[in-house]
Structure formats: C-alpha cells, structure tokens
C-alpha cells in the first residue's frame, strides 16, 4: 500500500480550504469548495484500488479476476451527485448575492456581524 494517494487527498483538502479562506471572489470560493470535495474522491478511489486489477464489470471477465472495490466507486458517484447539487445551489446564491449586494467580494459583505 502506498501512502502517496492519502497524502495527496490531504493536500487537496488543505489547498481547497486555503483557497476559500483567502478568496476575494465568491465564484472562486465555490470553485475552491469543489476542489476540497475532490479530496474525498481521491481518498475513496485510493481506498478501493488494487494493483493489477481491472474495472469491476464481470460481463467479459472470469468471476475470479482481480477487480477494484466497486463499493467505493458507488460512494464516489453518490459523492459527485451531492457535490454537483451543492455547487449549483451555491453558485445560484452567488448570482443572487451579486444582484442584491452588487459585489461578489466576501470582504465587502458586512451586514451580518457581532
């Protein structure tokens, strides 16, 4: 088992978070959130990976052929659906923010404080 994919997942998570925390543009911040989420795809696929194995489709394989774990692939697919929903909704909210506040810079959104 290689440690590299796990370190990569952690790195992607932190890069995304850093992007959101320092973002000056909400569209960019939503993009960074999507980057953060892709760390979960990397981790899940790394968990299910087997060396020398192939895709878990048995129609043209012998049933004892080594295949990668199909469960994590199902999880990653579900995760993609969740991510698409969240991204779409947040981008819609950013559009409304631009309309109502006239800015997409989080530094200039200051109505809720204290």
């Amino acid at each position: 088992m290689s440690l590299l994919p796990y370190l990569t997942a952690g790195w992607i998570f932190l890069v995304g978070v850093h992007g959101i925390a320092t973002s000056r543009n909400l569209v960019h911040a939503v993009g960074c959130l999507a980057v953060t989420q892709s760390s979960t795809y990397v981790l899940l696929l790394a968990v299910g990976y087997r060396k020398g194995a192939t895709a878990p489709v048995f129609s043209d394989l012998p049933t004892d052929a080594p295949v990668v774990d199909p469960v994590v692939q199902a999880l990653a697919l579900t995760d993609v659906v969740v991510g698409a929903t969240v991204t779409a909704l947040l981008l819609a909210l950013v559009v409304q923010t631009a309309k109502r506040h006239g800015t997409v810079d989080p530094d200039e959104l200051s109505e809720l404080k204290g």
């Binding site: 925390a21 969240v86 950013v94 409304q96 530094d107 809720l112």
Partner: protein, 597 residues
C-alpha cells in the same frame, strides 16, 4: 412494524415529489393540505413505531450474512425514532404556522415552499433512523442542501442570500470532513454500517492486543467535525447566528428546534455505536472533546446572546448556548446524561420554536425584529407577550417545563454542572425576558441607541406575510401556544421520562446495539426505575428562572447591553465566509488535540 420504518422517510419524499410535479397547477390550499397530510402521516408512523417494539429494517432484504452485509439498514431504536417523531411533529407545526398567511414567492409556483419543508423533514428523519455511516452522510447533505435553499428562500432580499452562502460553505466543508473520516473507516474495516464498523474495530483491536491507533483517531476527529459543525459547537458555530437571523421564521423554528440538535445526536450515535468499544477511541478523549467544546459553546452563546438587539439573532445565540449544554450532557457518556439531554432537547424544541413563532408575529405586524425599534409596540397584543414571556421562562428552566426537567436531570450528574447550567439558562432566559419586557410592556427608555461597534440591527425587515398584518394571525398564535403546552407536557408526564430513560440505557449500550442490528438480539430495555423531579432539581430551576427575571429587570432600564470586555469576541463574528472556514479548520486541529492529548 419493521417494514413501516422506511415509510417515515419515504412519505415526505413522495409528498415533496408530488408537490414539485403538480404544485404549479394546484391552488395553494391544496398544496398545503397535501404537505400537511404527508408530514402528519410520517409523524403518525413514527409515533406508532415508538409504541411498538424496536425494530431493524434491512432495505431490499439485504440481511447480514454471518455478521457482514452490504445492505442499507434503518434502525428504529427509541432515541432515533423519538427524534424522527419530534421532527415530524415540528414540521406539522411549521406548516400550520405558515398556513395561508406566510407569503410564498415565487407566485405561480405554489407548493415550492412546502415541498422543500417535506424534503427537509425526510433528510432529518433519515439521518435519525439510519444505521449506516455513508447513508448518514447522504442524509446529512440532504438536510444541509435543503437547509441552504430554505434559508435563502426569499432570494429577492440581500441578507438571506448572504446567510445561506455562509451556511452552505461551512456545512458542506464539515460534510466533506465527515466523508473523509468515513472513507478511512471503510479502508480499515471494509464496512459502512455503524454496528459492523464498531464490531470490526473491536475484533481488530482484540487480535492486535492494543486499542486505537492514529488512523482510528483521525477517522473519529474527521467524522465528528461535520457533526459538530451541524451542532454549532464553538468554534464551528459561526454560521448559525448568521443563518438563523435571516432565514424565514418557519424555517428558523426547524433549524433551531431540531436540525442543530441532530448534530449532537449524530455525535452521540457515532460515538456509542462505532468508537465506544475497545477498538475505538478511549472514553476519556471523547469525553474531554465533547465537554470542552460543550462548555465553550454554552458560555460563548450566552455571552453573545445577551448583547444582541436583533431578536432572531438573540434566539440563535441562545440556541448555541443550549446546544452547548446538550453537548455537555452527552459528554458524560452515561445513560442518565443522555436521558436528561433528550428531555432537554424535547422541551427546548417546543420553547424555542414558540419564541421564534412570536418573533415572526412581531415581524409581520411591524416589519422589524429590532429590540429598540419595537419598544412598546407589542402593548396591544398581551396574549402574544404572555407566550413570549412563558417561552423565556421555559428557556431559563422554570419547573415544570421540559427544559427544567432535562436540565435538572443532567445537573445532578456532577457537582460543578449546576453552576454552568444555572448561569447559562439564566442569561439566555433573561435576555429573552428583557426583550419581552421592552417590547410587550414598553418598559425602560424608548429611543435609538448609539452605535456600539460591530452589531446587527433588525430594523427595516420585510414582513413575511407579503404586507403587514394588523392582528396576530390566529394559526400563528395557536401554534405558539400549542408548542409551549407541549414543552410543558414534557416536564409533567412521568411515563415519558421513564421511556426516555430506558431508551437512553439502550442508546449507550455499544455491544447491545451491534447485537440488535446484526444478530437480531433484543433491542431496547424494559423500563426500570428512573429519576424524576427532585427538590434540588426543582429548586435550581426556580433559581435560574428567578435569576433570569432579576437580570431582565435590572437591564431593562439600561441603555446599553454591551458587556465591556467582549468586543473582541463580537468582532470575531464577522460574517466573512473565509474567516468562518479558517475557524472550522482550526476547530479540526483543536478536536484532534483534545481527542489525543
């Protein structure tokens, strides 16, 4: 009865689908009736399941073979079912509250709002009932996404979209941290079910001869992060006041009443089922984590609550304070701590939802939720004022409200707990009573205040009824009164306390849960002896209520609510997405330290 468990989740989902498909062509009363029926049917199913024996439902009959299963399981244990029933009943109350009066833009899309509320209900009920970690994540995200949409429901206004954005960023980030933790647990055990993961961890620990290693602790921290974000524990709490201050009132009732508590429930559930065994995380680490964050949330929430002039934001911070108390109760990791917390949650849901309901009436009559602007404006509605004051006293823990009973039961677990509980409930209840005295009695000085540094005022808000109403609408007042009555009932029906205590015994039983889910063993316990009101508990409740009244009476004439040295803390609540995300990551570090140290 086991076969009916999925219906508790499916019925609201179906109702939402029907409303989305046909709502455009149906007149509004029809759409609302359909939503009310679906929510009530789900509530009825949950209550019926509570009355029967506890059950486990493997969806599609994918039962475990030799303790292993790839199936999806719903577990109808008492605490989960009780939370599902609470959610469904509160949804019915919310739909009744928004009946006819609540303005539902966009026009011509009748049924959009009730459909979203039903989806929200399905997400929360699913989260309460699921016995599978990945499903818990999916339901977590479902209630999250619907929550963002409901918060920003009135997209034509500036503040709601900002609050919804903050909510979306912080909660999604927490959700992804949880998913990373679930991935790590799957990597270690090859299982996703809570009972299965817990059992695999224990067997691995037994074979290796030692307890938790770094990977298990990392998984614990990551899974807990998302749940604590939902539970609004300090320092993950920043999204909550920004969201609750701007969300439509009926949505606030659900967010504060039950969604935030779902986070605490999730943390307790994951701890007891997955990590409480020998292969999990040492109990001391988990207890320290929950205790430190719980006490910090309670104190920060109470301090911030006292200083607000925006009434909804004030109630939001009181929710932070009370979830802090819930986490403290859970942190005891004993059946009695859990039983007291469960009663506290039930009583709090009624009281807090009633307070939001009364605030919504003020908003619809006067177009403001600002304590200073509303001064004396409520003098012509004494009944609403009475309900508001009763809600404040309930928050302060006045016997025999359910909040008082839950508080009393948790307090008796440890000698230093009464000080914390009395202080926090007196301050939050006192803040509400202060607002009540100024708005409904016209006590103290009217007039505008000077700018006191960073704060959110609540003036010039759009009424949620489309235009201002002259009299308080009957359904809104009735719902508030019924919610308070329910909160009162929680503290006065002994049978409920007995059932909750037995449920908490089963809830905290790590091996019993796995046996009930995987081996078909008996779930649930017969009712044994249980604690009820004691003289000390009632006395401490009376004390905190009296302190709340005294605090309110003393502060009502003062022109300033600011606590002198708390300005830096107030500045931290900046409304800035980047700051909040940075705090969330700092919180992950803090939780790691607390769990490991």
């Amino acid at each position: 009865m086991d076969r009916l468990l999925p219906l508790i989740v499916v019925v609201p989902l179906l109702g939402a689908a029907v409303l989305v498909a046909a709502g455009r062509h149906a007149p509004r009363p029809v759409a609302e009736a359909v939503a009310g029926l679906a929510a009530a049917a789900s509530a009825g199913l949950a209550v019926a399941a509570l009355a029967g024996p506890p059950g486990v439902s493997w969806v599609g009959a994918w039962r475990p073979q030799g303790g292993h299963s790839v199936g999806i399981v719903l577990v109808g244990d008492r605490i989960g079912l009780g939370l599902a029933a609470l959610t469904s009943l509160l949804v019915v109350a919310v739909l009744a509250y928004s009946w006819r009066y609540f303005d539902e833009p966009p026009h011509g899309h009748g049924g959009a709002f009730p459909a979203l509320v039903l989806l929200f209900q399905a997400g929360m009920c699913g989260f309460a009932l699921t016995g599978d970690l990945f499903d818990a994540f999916v339901f977590f995200e479902l209630m999250g996404v619907v929550g963002y949409a409901l918060t920003g429901y009135r997209v034509e206004e500036a503040r709601p979209v900002q609050g919804a954005l903050v909510f979306g960023f912080v909660n999604s980030l927490g959700g992804y941290a949880t998913l990373l933790g679930i991935g790590l647990l799957y990597a270690r055990t090859g299982e996703l079910g809570m009972a299965q993961v817990g059992r695999e961890l224990d067997e691995a620990a037994g074979a290796a001869g030692h307890g938790a290693d770094a990977l298990v602790v990392a998984a614990f921290v990551l899974v807990l992060t998302g749940l604590l974000v939902k539970a609004a524990a300090v320092p993950f709490h920043f999204w909550l006041p920004d969201t609750h201050a701007v969300a439509p009132t009926p949505v606030c009732m659900l967010l504060s009443g039950v969604m935030v508590e779902m986070g605490g429930y999730g943390a307790a559930r994951v701890w007891t089922t997955v990590f409480a065994g020998p292969g999990g995380v040492p109990a001391a680490g988990a207890r320290r984590t929950l205790l430190v964050l719980g006490v910090a949330s309670a104190l920060v929430g109470a301090l911030m609550c006292w200083q607000q002039r925006h009434v909804k934001r004030l109630l939001a911070f009181s929710t932070v304070a009370h979830t802090g108390l819930f986490l403290t109760g859970i942190a005891l990791l004993t059946p009695h701590g859990v039983a007291g917390t469960a009663l506290y949650v039930l009583g709090h849901a009624g009281a807090k939802a009633a307070l939001f309901a009364c605030t919504g009436i003020l908003l619809d009559r006067h177009g403001s939720v600002d304590e200073c602007e509303l001064h004396g404006k409520g003098r012509d509605t004494p009944f609403t004022g009475l309900l508001f004051a009763a809600g404040g006293l309930a928050l302060a823990g006045l016997p025999p409200f359910g909040t008082g009973l839950g508080k009393a039961l948790v307090e008796e677990q440890s000698p230093w707990l009464p000080a914390l509980f009395v202080l926090v409930s007196a301050v939050t209840g006192g803040a509400v009573l202060r607002v009540g005295a100024r708005v409904f009695l016209g006590a103290g000085q009217a007039g505008r205040e000077d700018d006191e540094g960073p704060e959110t005022a609540g003036g010039e808000e759009e009424p949620e009824t489309g235009r201002r109403v002259r009299r308080p609408p009957v359904p809104m007042v009735t719902v508030a009164a019924l919610l308070l009555a329910a909160s009162l009932a929680v503290g006065t029906v002994p049978a409920l306390t007995g059932a909750v205590t037995a449920a908490a015994e089963a809830f905290t039983d790590h091996a019993g849960y796995a046996a009930a889910v995987l081996d078909g063993g008996p779930a649930g316990r017969p009712e044994g002896p249980y604690d009820w009101w004691t003289w000390t508990g009632a006395g401490l409740g009376l004390l905190s209520a009296a302190l709340a009244v005294a605090l309110a009476a003393r502060s009502v004439g003062l022109s300033s609510r600011a606590v002198p040295w708390s300005a830096p803390l107030r500045r931290l609540h900046s409304g800035h997405v980047g700051d909040y995300v940075a705090w969330t990551v700092a919180g992950i570090g803090l939780v790691s330290l607390l769990a490991l140290w």
